[in-house]
Each structure stands twice: as C-alpha cells, then as structure tokens.
C-alpha cells in the first residue's frame, strides 16, 4: 500500500431541519492510501454518500453544519473556498455517480461532454482535447471511439454510459477516484465488466479508489480495506480479510448473514430485526442497540468508540473480544449445520 492520499478526521455533517437535526455523518475518521480500493458499506441512510459529497464540497455549506478535517494533498478541503476547490475537484479528486442515466446531459454529445471536462482544467485547443477524449474512451473499452464520440447519451447502453462517466472522471489522471454505487443500476454481467475496469485503472495509474456500495459481495471481491457504517458512524474498519473472515461487530454479522448464499441453498435467513433508525432520533448509546441480539448493560447508555479492543482491527461494540469471537464462531457453526 502506498502513501495516504485522503485523510478524513472526525468528520461531522449535520443538517438542521424543522423536525430536528439530521446527523447524517457523526464523527468519522479514515484514511485512503494510494493503490488501494477502500470499500464503504452500509444500508441506505447510513451516511456513505454524504461523506463523499462533503469531501468534494458538493454539500452546500449554508445548509449543513460541517466540522472535522478532510486532508487531500496537504489541503483541508473543508476550509477551501469554492474558487480554491475548483482546481482540485475533477482534477486530483474525481467521482463516478450511481446513475449513469442521470449524469450525462441528454442534449449534448458524449464526446463534447468529455471535451468540456478536459478543457475545464487544461487550456488545450479543441482538437487536442478531442484526441484525448478518443484515447480515454478507448482506454475504458468503448469500441470505435472516434465514431462514438459523436453519439448522444441515449445511443449508449447503461454499461457504456458508465464507461463514459469513468472516462470523464479519468480525464486529468486523478489521484483519488470516488465511485458511489457505480454498479447498482447495472446487470450482473455488466457489473463484472465495470468492476474489472475500475480495478484495472487503479493498478495502471496507481490511484486510490473509494468504492461506496451496499453490496457486500462487491466489496469482498475488489476492496482491500473495508469500513462498515451504521447511522452515520463507522462500526467496523479493517482490511478486507479481517472484516470478512473475522467480523467483530454484531451489525456486520447481521449483514453477512442476511444475504442469501449463491453457493448453496441455505436454511432460513437470519434477518436483522427492526429497521434502521431515524437519523434525527438516533438511539442513545450504541445506535445499533435496539436491533442487536447481544445487547447488555452499557449498550443503551455509553456510545462505544471505534477502537481496537484486541481483535486486530478497530470496531465499535461493548462486548468483550473473547465473547465476540465465541459468538461469531457459534453463529457460523449454526449456519453450516442448517445448510448441511
């Protein structure tokens, strides 16, 4: 793993609303390194997207109370003015959005939209920008790029649009690429193509990638580090192997167990009881405690911090580490028994 490129320290994003303050992100700390795919997993409303939008300065500062630090190449992105942010955004730091159908302007040719993105940061003439666009489209695997740059977005399929979005994001060789649910709107066979492409780009340009997804399978396949989020906070944070082979937080267990297994016909699914909390009235103590089957005395009073309690990687749960290991092993044994 290379040097750190993005450091987020104690990030808080609160939105005041007439009903109360929505604590979308509430104290988040993590580091992304060069050459690493950093997976952020969580259910809808856990604060995954808000974290990244804030880092890019895409959340209006007037509408939210933002505190903490987001360090990128020596700058604190939260303190920069919009003018100072512009040379960084889209150049050093770029983003792929979830919905490739909504992110390309339907009235402009795909090629012109990428040319515009190039000329935004580089004062090169139109011809050079066009040649670079053809090169980029070729790099992301669009056949006959010199013809296809004259196409409109509706002439592209979903997978091709996502490729065009990736080409646009790569226009200035960013050192960090943020992919917000890049494959959620796509079919599995196309998803496999796009994930392979992102992985290939990461290795070729040695950049960092933040992959936001709700699909644990995707993260287990392509990420090196994983952060599991619940109600605006990280509940578990570690390397992929640590988190998937020895998860230490009951929420991660619940997520892993509620996915139907494709390798074997399992027994009954073990869902997490209840529903995710409202971010206006987050439960006191551990936010997960009302849904947690293992809650005990301090859970609804003290909020557990994200600490390494001796399990090898940081997690936020009051249970003793021996108990966690025992409980996870029991749950795993139980599942194998049901299946066989």
């Amino acid at each position: 793993m290379g040097e750190p490129i993005l450091e987020v320290k104690d990030l808080k994003v609160h939105f005041p609303t007439p009903d109360g303050v929505v604590k979308a992100v509430d104290g988040l700390t993590f580091t992304v390194h060069r050459g690493e795919t950093f997976g952020i997993v969580g259910e809808s409303g856990s604060g995954k997207s808000v974290t990244c939008l804030t880092a890019l300065g895409l959340i209006k500062r007037e509408s939210a109370q933002i505190s903490g630090e987001v360090l990128f190449e020596g700058h604190d992105l939260l303190k920069l003015s919009n003018e100072d942010l512009r040379p960084i955004r889209g150049k050093g730091l770029s983003m792929i959005f979830q919905d490739p159908f909504a992110c390309l302007h339907p009235f402009y040719r795909v090629g012109d939209q990428i040319i515009e993105a190039i000329q935004c940061h580089d004062s090169c003439d139109k011809n050079e920008a066009k040649n670079r666009t053809i090169g980029l489209l070729d790099a992301v695997g669009i056949p006959q790029p010199d013809d296809r740059i004259r196409d409109y977005p509706h002439q592209f399929s979903g997978g091709m649009r996502q490729r065009a979005m990736i080409a646009m994001a790569l226009a200035h060789n960013p050192s960090l690429l943020i992919a917000d649910e890049p494959t959620t709107a796509l079919d599995v066979t196309v998803q496999a193509q796009i994930l392979e492409l992102i992985d290939h780009i990461k290795q070729e340009f040695n950049i960092g990638v933040i992959l936001i997804t709700h699909d644990l399978g995707v993260v287990a396949d392509v990420a090196q580090s994983v952060m599991v989020m619940y109600a605006g906070r990280a509940v578990e944070y570690g390397s992929r192997d640590e988190v998937f082979s020895g998860p230490l937080h009951p929420y991660t267990w619940g997520l892993l167990e509620s996915i139907p297994n494709i390798d074997r016909k399992g027994g009954r699914l073990v869902p997490i009881e209840g529903a995710p909390p409202s971010l206006i009235r987050v439960p006191t103590g551990c936010a997960f405690n009302p849904r947690c089957p293992h809650r005990f005395d301090p859970c609804d009073k003290d909020r557990p911090e994200l600490l390494d309690r001796g399990g090898g990687h940081p997690e936020a749960c009051h249970l003793r580490i021996e108990d966690k290991k025992r409980l996870w092993n029991e749950r795993e044994a139980g599942r194998v028994e049901v299946a066989s």
Partner: protein
C-alpha cells in the same frame, strides 16, 4: 435455415409440464404456458400507421408451475421476465401461445370471464413506493380486493387479520402509505395480494428495492406464507442469490427465450447453458478465501430485442461457441439454427447446441 422459419416451429418436443420437474411436481400443474410469444409492434406514420418492426419481448416460452412450488425466473433487464409474468396473468394479451390455469384454457377469455380466475392469481410489484395509492389508507388498499370482488360482510376485521399476519400493527389501519418504510410497504403489498386467498402469487422483483437486512425479513415472510397457505409462486428477480434461496426450480431467460430450466441446486452446481454459466460466474461471491474461479466476463451488451440475432440468441456473446469454433467466428448451427430446449442430463433442460460440461471452465473471453 432462416430465422423466420426456425421460430415458427415449436422449439421443444417436451410438453411444458415435463420440463425439469422438481420434487414438488405432483398431480396436475396449476399453470401451464405453451409456446407463449409476445411481440410489441413498433408503428410509424401519423394517420395510416403501419408496423415497421416489433420488439420480440417473449419468444416461444413454455413452462408449467405445480401447486405449492416456487418457480424462479432470472435474467438481465430487458430479457422478458416481467412481460412473461404479465402475459401469464393476461394483463397483456399474448401474440400467440396458450395459457392454462387449473386445467382451463384462459388464453381467449375476455375481461369479465377472467374475473373468477383473478381471485386465484395475484401479483406483487417491485416498487413499494409506486404500487400503493398515496391517497388511500392502508385499510382501503388492503380492503380493495374485497370491494372489487363484492365480497359480503365487514372487511375491516379481515384486513386487520391480514395486517397482523404479515407483521404490521393492525392499529395502523387508518394510516397512509407514506407513513411506512420500504419494508413495511412491501408487507402491505403482500397483505393485498393475499387478501382473497389466491393459489398463485406472481412476484415481480419484490425485494430488489429493499436493503439487505429488510430483504431477509421479507423473504422469510414469503416462505412462511407459502407453508401456511400452500401458495404457489412465480418469483422474478435479477438477484441470483435471492432466486436460489427461494426457488424450487429456476428458468433462465435471455432475449425473450427460456434458455435453461432445472431445479435450483442442479442449475447452480451444474449450469449447462453458457449464458447461465457466465451469469453465475459474474456474481461477486462475497467471501474471502473462496476458491478463485475464473470469472467469465461477457463482452458487449445484450442485443436489441427489435433485431434479435439469428440462430441462438446468445451466439454473438457466447464464449463456448467461440471455443468450439477454435477462435474463428462461431459454429454454423449456432449462427443459423435456434437450439431447442432439450433434456441435456436427467431432468435438466437447456437450449444449446454445445452444452457446458460439468468439469469445464469457460475460457475468459478477451476484452473487445
């Protein structure tokens, strides 16, 4: 042979009720569809409209569903899954083919004649936000089937009983849909589908809009209800894990055709059609340290159903066809003739000229 000629012939000799039976296949099938085809015309002209082309949404599909069984229908977007379900319930008229429900041919029944059958077959929709009327209370929504079918007696106690059964609080009878979360709304949809005690429920992507933890709750509810009421499901999903979990038997669709039918375990352990094999290998396994199998990455996109390829619909993307031809194009029969849905091994049907061997691993197709 031209494509037009090949599609006019039935693509299988096996009667639909004998295609890949599961252990639950006893007695007479509840629903049978035979050679079902649906084409949507594309018209041009303002006053004198003429048909210039057609979207081949469903092409010569045959299958049967036995009472108490769950048939899973998988495939990528645009492959005709939802159209098949809608035609099966006659929400759309089929272009040709035959639909039988409980032994009665319902293909040519009109709206009024369909009424009694509608009580027996209900549908669940994908989007829990769009499928509930925002201006009706939950009580009105779940009670609608009783009103429509002019059932006598007070509906409220029945509705509240249903709400309790699907895990909703019966005191929320007078609330509106926006007051509920996605998972709860989907439970409302289940209660509505269940109101008339139907025999068949067609579920069109019922869990794909839900978060994983909620998805598991709803899937468990489906299983419980099946046990309790002896329901039969046609379960449509693009999520291969979900389909395997819930189904006894699975049919895989590609570009309007059913390309493979087998029991769930058989299909996942031993896919015969190269498309199924590629589809399964494309799913992220979600497990670290699992044996790393070569992922068959399909190149290109699904072709347009307006202009489907000749012969086997999968041949332009098929890694196996290229392997058989030795890297130079595809074999002639793949290109020209539509393969029939035939029994490849015991109780396992696939429509392929060169089915995948059990031990074979498809070569990873190169990036185009």
């Amino acid at each position: 042979m031209s494509r037009a000629a090949s599609t006019n012939e039935p693509t299988t000799d096996t009667p639909p009720e004998d295609i890949a039976k599961s252990s639950k296949a006893v007695g007479e099938p509840l629903v049978t569809v035979e050679n079902l085809t649906k084409r949507f015309p594309i018209k041009k002209g303002i006053i004198f409209q003429r048909e210039v082309a057609a979207v081949h949404a469903v092409e010569d599909v045959s299958f049967a569903i036995y009472p108490g069984e769950t048939l899973g229908l998988v495939g990528e977007s645009g492959c005709g899954k939802s159209t098949t379900a809608r035609v099966l319930l006659k929400l759309i008229e089929p272009t040709s083919g035959k639909i039988t429900f409980e032994g009665e041919d319902i293909t040519n029944l009109n709206k009024r004649q369909m009424r009694p059958m509608r009580r027996q077959a209900q549908m669940m929709f994908q989007d829990p936000y769009a499928s509930l009327n925002p201006r009706q209370t939950i009580g009105q929504i779940i009670g609608a089937p009783f009103r429509i079918h002019k059932m006598s007696g007070e509906a409220k106690p029945k509705v509240q009983e249903l709400m309790e059964r699907v895990g909703l609080n019966p005191e929320h009878y007078n609330r509106y849909a926006h007051e509920f979360s996605g998972g709860q709304r989907q439970r409302i949809g289940v209660a509505r589908a269940l109101a008339l005690r139907p025999k068949l429920i067609v579920c069109d992507e019922p869990v794909s809009a839900l978060d994983v933890s909620i998805q598991a709750q709803v899937l468990n509810l489906f299983e419980d209800l099946q046990g309790e009421f002896g329901l039969t499901y046609l379960f449509i999903s693009h999520d291969l894990g979900v389909v395997r979990h819930i189904s006894d038997r699975i049919a895989v669709m590609y570009l309007g055709h059913v390309v493979e039918v087998a029991t769930a375990d058989e299909l996942y352990n031993n896919p015969k059609h190269p498309y199924t094999a590629a589809l399964l290998s494309a799913v992220p396994k979600g497990k670290v340290g699992a044996q790393v199998t070569t992922r068959t990455v399909l190149t290109g996109d699904v072709p347009s159903p307006v202009n489907p390829p000749s012969g086997c619909p999968f041949h332009p993307r098929c890694p196996k066809a290229r392997q058989v031809a030795g890297g130079e194009g595809v074999p002639e029969n793949c290109r020209d003739d539509l393969p029939p849905l035939g029994e490849v091994v015991d109780n396992h049907h696939a429509a392929c000229w060169y089915p995948v061997e059990e031990t074979e691993e498809l070569a990873k197709a190169a990036h185009a």
